[in-house]
Symmetry: C2
Subunit: 259 residues, 2 copies
């Protein structure tokens, strides 16, 4: 068994595409050793809200989550998507176990303050909100946790969280158990040197070359927070962070960020 | 720690009533030792189907489950209801873990044959479809499994099952681990000698007095299959089956069925 714990996050581009999801699940199931999957939500929650006449309000890319929207995201993320992925993984011989943060008290979140923006039932998590003993117990028993981004506050309330943040926090917590790598799968092949050239993937970023890549404008815009978050996870104990295409999970590809 | 494993099933009458559910959860959380909760679905799935314009079709009290209805019941049972109950139990200090049958491969079901009635994605389970090793591992680690009645076929498909049947199969499987009691909570105080008198609860039924209670008409109608199922579970290894009111979980009350 590989000594490494692999934390892998997928987002809407995989979840919204049944063929891509099936292909990803097959690849993920073949990864040996200890692994954890974190999934986002995709467009299904917005679609279901629309069918139910619930208005979807986004502020800075975050979903404002009133009570009705919390029910929708809990149903879609923790119910339909999570259980579909778990059933698919089981069919591929991977002993997956789907979890919200409430299950086994695996992730506690804190409701975000209503000031300056009231996002409703939205939570933020910290590494010490992740129950690494419980995760360790599951991994030790050969199970593969599959986490959605619905967590709880410990007082009976569910909270909608950001899946990238869940993945980072889980990876940081796992680094207390063992060497941990974190992989963010998305629609591009990695961090691109030229945003118009999909073949311009920067293969590695370290704290040494990051300053230069920022100051010469190679890395800019929406990629900056992603890479900053990767360095934050590394500074908190994660061994490496890779940003790559979900279609190339098994390939030695993408951008790997290390200390 | 009590040597007994307590398997407790609640149905729609508790789930549809927020105050009754809160009260039940508080009671359940105080039960010491190893315990498992199985929950049905209540009216929310039918309500959500209605809002989405999906026709609900019931045959002999069973929901015909086409693809769209399977998504609805998965969202409602495995998502919203399951996670709500788990978060409530966690708030009461009970280390609950919500599960569909796919999670940890805990329950495998077989899709019901389409003849004579095609119920769609409806499954039946057998005691050997229950992964008692996984349940044992969770109980050993101090966790309280909370199961909904959505299971999987092992080939990637989710299946809608009957929650009473799930409870029986789980209790039978648990009887391989240790002494197991099964409790069905419902709206009445137990099996009534006089259906019009809520105070006429028959406190105990054994195989010895059951024939007489049947032949003199004391137990008849809808109660017969419930009691027959209880005897079936007992013949397969369960120590006792109690049928009681969900409001009286902690009281020594209801009808207890023993060998």
């Amino acid at each position: 068994m590989s000594p490494e714990i692999k934390v892998i996050k997928i987002g809407g581009n995989v979840i919204d595409n049944p063929e891509a999801l099936q292909s990803f699940v097959k690849d993920f199931a073949t990864i040996p050793g200890r692994k954890i999957l974190i999934h986002g939500g995709g467009k299904e929650a917005t679609r279901l809200s629309g069918r139910l006449g619930i208005e979807t309000q986004m502020i800075d890319g975050r979903r404002v989550t009133d009570r009705a929207t919390l029910d929708v995201v809990t149903m879609v993320y923790a119910g339909m998507i999570n259980k579909r992925i778990v059933a698919m993984l089981q069919a591929e011989g991977c002993d997956a176990i789907g979890l919200s943060g409430a299950d086994g008290n695996v992730i506690r979140a804190c409701r975000r303050p209503a000031v300056p923006v009231d996002y409703g039932f939205v939570g933020d998590i910290h590494a010490d909100g992740v129950n690494h003993r419980f995760i360790s117990m599951l991994l030790y028993n050969g199970l593969t946790p599959v986490l959605c981004a619905i967590n709880h506050d410990g007082c009976g309330e569910l909270l909608n969280c950001n899946a990238d943040s869940v993945a980072s926090a889980v990876a940081v917590a796992c680094s207390r158990i063992g060497l941990t790598s974190l992989t963010f799968c998305f629609e591009k092949g990695g961090v691109l040197a030229d945003i118009n050239d999909d073949n311009s993937v920067i293969r590695s970023i370290s704290s040494e070359n990051y300053s230069a890549l920022k100051s010469d404008g190679t890395i800019s815009g929406g990629m900056l927070p992603k890479v900053d978050n990767a360095f934050k996870a590394i500074s908190e104990g994660v061994n490496s962070v890779t940003i790559k295409s979900s279609a190339d999970l098994l390939a030695d590809s993408g951008t790997t960020i290390t200390k």
